[in-house]
């Protein structure tokens, strides 16, 4: 870009003022980069505008009633997404409990010198590859591996403990539990990765001080390290929850898509994302505003959770830096 470098070299100097073309090109490129940055803001605004705008007729027609009704009858024009909202929150919460416990355990396992560095790297790669497998493949695996494996256990629990609402129905095939289990596998890598970062932020000196007081390894972890990293770990759980809320395919394939609000782990249910995935491809003009409304609800829930998660992470980072 600089004008005739060879000539300048002959003159004994590599430096020189930019040519008019260089100035022009510089201006143009900077403008382009600015436009690129602005386009991201525009994209976010456009997403909100498009989904919100297309949902507006649905909101006008159905209002709050859509959020609290459980009917879904296209012919009668009756729509309700309460079971989907409930299913989204319930499945994500279950996934967070399972995936969160395993994720935090994995983070402790990988950061607290349980393994020689090489083996730790192997486990770290395993966790990262878990995140790399497409969710539709997990869905397929869930149908043909998870459901057959847990069915005997589920039947036994239903036979013996049907009084407990969690086990009140039998597992007919797809249902909440297999969906939540597969969802937990997808939440685990997020929780594990972010918690590992949080645990690494705790200075090594703190751990040495705890050991110096004569604590066992686990007293040091439970009473010193985890409290010190709690904001980061909490942030990891919130981000994992956000991930679970928006996950679509595994749920569309495993949750059973039935519009009911139930506590039972073995009953088929529905989620917002699965509702969108299954109804959009054949949606008629009556359904589209309703589905856009449901998309807006999902957007609002995930945005809220993700922003909360990011805010907690920023807070945790500041505290980590201050120590």
């Amino acid at each position: 870009m600089s004008s005739a470098p060879a000539a300048e070299l002959q003159g004994g100097s590599v430096s020189g003022p930019p040519s008019p073309f260089d100035y022009f090109f510089d201006r143009a490129f900077r403008g382009l980069a600015y436009a690129g940055a602005a386009s991201i803001l525009l994209l976010l605004a456009l997403i909100l505008y498009e989904i919100g705008g297309k949902a507006l007729p649905g909101i006008r027609e159905h209002g709050v009633a859509l959020l609290v009704s459980s009917n879904w009858d296209v012919k009668a024009g009756e729509f309700g997404i309460l079971p989907a909202i409930w299913g989204t929150l319930y499945s994500s919460l279950l996934a967070l409990i399972i995936g969160g416990a395993f994720g935090v355990a994995m983070a402790i396992f990988l950061t607290q010198d349980f393994l020689p560095p090489r083996l730790a790297q192997v486990f770290r790669t395993i966790v990262e590859l878990l995140a790399a497998i497409p969710s539709v493949v997990y869905g397929l695996w869930g149908i043909f591996v998870v459901i057959p494996v847990i069915r005997p256990v589920a039947d036994w629990l239903h036979d013996k403990l049907a009084v407990i609402p969690f086990f009140s129905t039998s597992l007919a095939g797809p249902g909440m539990l297999p969906a939540a289990m597969v969802l937990a596998i997808m939440v685990l890598p997020t929780v594990a990765a972010v918690s590992q970062d949080a645990l690494r932020l705790v200075p090594y000196k703190v751990k040495e001080a705890a050991y110096g007081l004569g604590t066992t390894r686990w007293e040091a972890i439970l009473k010193v390290l985890l409290p010190a990293a709690r904001n980061g770990i909490f942030g990891a759980l919130v981000l994992g929850f956000g991930r679970a809320l928006g996950e679509t395919m595994a749920l569309a394939m495993l949750v059973g898509n039935s519009n009911q609000v139930t506590l039972s782990l073995f009953a088929p249910a529905n989620t917002l994302a699965a509702l969108l995935a299954l109804n959009f491809p054949e949606a008629g003009p009556k359904e589209i505003p309703v589905l856009m409304y449901a998309a807006l609800v999902l957007l609002a829930i995930t945005l809220l959770v993700n922003i909360a998660g990011s805010a907690i992470m920023v807070l945790a980072g500041r505290q980590g830096g201050a120590r």
Partner: protein, 305 residues
């Protein structure tokens, strides 16, 4: 536990120096520690099971059906035997290509702005916030967005609509990794370039970008790997098709387009053995594709250090 404590207390009362300074393995707190260590070991191994189970099933079920025919022919209908998913492979590559064509230039330009032109500006902070928000954006909503933008407007499902949905998902990854890579470029190199009279553009194009290229590429490849496996955004933007992208002598960019991910989803719910076998074989190809891209990006990232 009581016995141990009282013995220790007694020892402490009578003769402080006799207190055992080493922890005994049968002490309650040592046992708790050992138990918890065993527990995390077990949990870590359990957490690794799904990956190996998935890989095993893919190798057995997918590997047995994989053949030249499966890779190159069109999807079978209902009771048909044979068939394959050649058009889905082409469709996936085409749509990820469209998505990369949109998201990579925009993402890199955006990262240039964030790291070099106005890192502390208000716009930069807003853009960074928007990009982080988009990383947590549910993939299905990217599909809803592309549906509203393209499908409702043009009136039909198409490959560009699918590509746009994937681009929305790729762009934040490209921006954030590229920005980080460009920030790692030593300031001294940039100062040297400014010192010999380079314009900011020249510094970016001749010093910052070439130096940060491995990091930028890592981000691009991670984004590609993620996009290739995405199903939800394609379900109602590209839909599915049983024909080639190029058929009857013309490109069908305005028509529904097949992709591996949507094929797996469609076939997994069918009551036909043949289709389910094909779903496994397609999963194997998809996972291989994703893992190869993912591992390559890891390799590039390692080389950088």
């Amino acid at each position: 536990m009581n016995a141990v404590v009282s013995r220790a207390e007694a020892a402490a009362r009578n003769e402080p120096d006799a207190l055992p300074i080493e922890r005994q393995p049968w002490e309650a707190r040592s046992l708790t520690s050992t138990f918890l260590s065993a527990l995390v070991w077990v949990m870590a191994v359990i957490a690794a099971i799904p990956l190996f189970s998935v890989l095993y099933m893919l190798a057995v079920k997918g590997g047995s059906r994989l053949s030249w025919e499966a890779l190159t022919s069109l999807p079978p209908a209902g009771f048909e035997m044979g068939g394959g998913f050649g058009n889905a492979i082409v469709g996936t590559i085409a749509m990820v290509g469209i998505a990369a064509g949109i998201s990579v230039p925009v993402g890199i330009l955006c990262a240039v702005f964030l790291s070099e032109l106005g890192p502390e500006s208000r716009t930069a902070n807003a853009v960074r916030f928007a990009a982080k928000t988009l990383t947590g954006f549910p993939s299905i909503l990217a599909g809803v967005f592309a549906y509203a933008m393209v499908v409702l407007l043009t009136g039909h499902y198409s490959a560009p609509a699918g590509g746009l949905a994937l681009a929305v998902l790729m762009v934040p990854t490209v921006i954030l990794t590229a920005e980080e890579a460009m920030r790692m470029v030593p300031k001294i190199m940039k100062d040297a370039a400014y010192g010999i009279g380079c314009t900011r553009t020249q510094v970016v194009l001749k010093v910052v970008l070439p130096t940060a290229m491995p990091g930028v590429l890592t981000g691009v490849m991670l984004a590609v790997a993620r996009a290739a496996g995405e199903t939800a955004p394609l379900l109602f933007t590209a839909l599915f098709s049983s024909y080639w992208l190029y058929h009857e002598g013309e490109w069908a960019f305005g028509q529904p387009t097949a992709s591996l991910a949507v094929l797996i989803f469609n076939f997994s719910g069918m009551p036909f053995e043949n289709q389910i076998e094909l779903a496994w074989a397609a999963s194997l190809i998809l996972v291989l594709l994703v893992l190869v891209v993912n591992l390559t990006s890891r390799f590039i990232a390692h080389r950088r250090v």
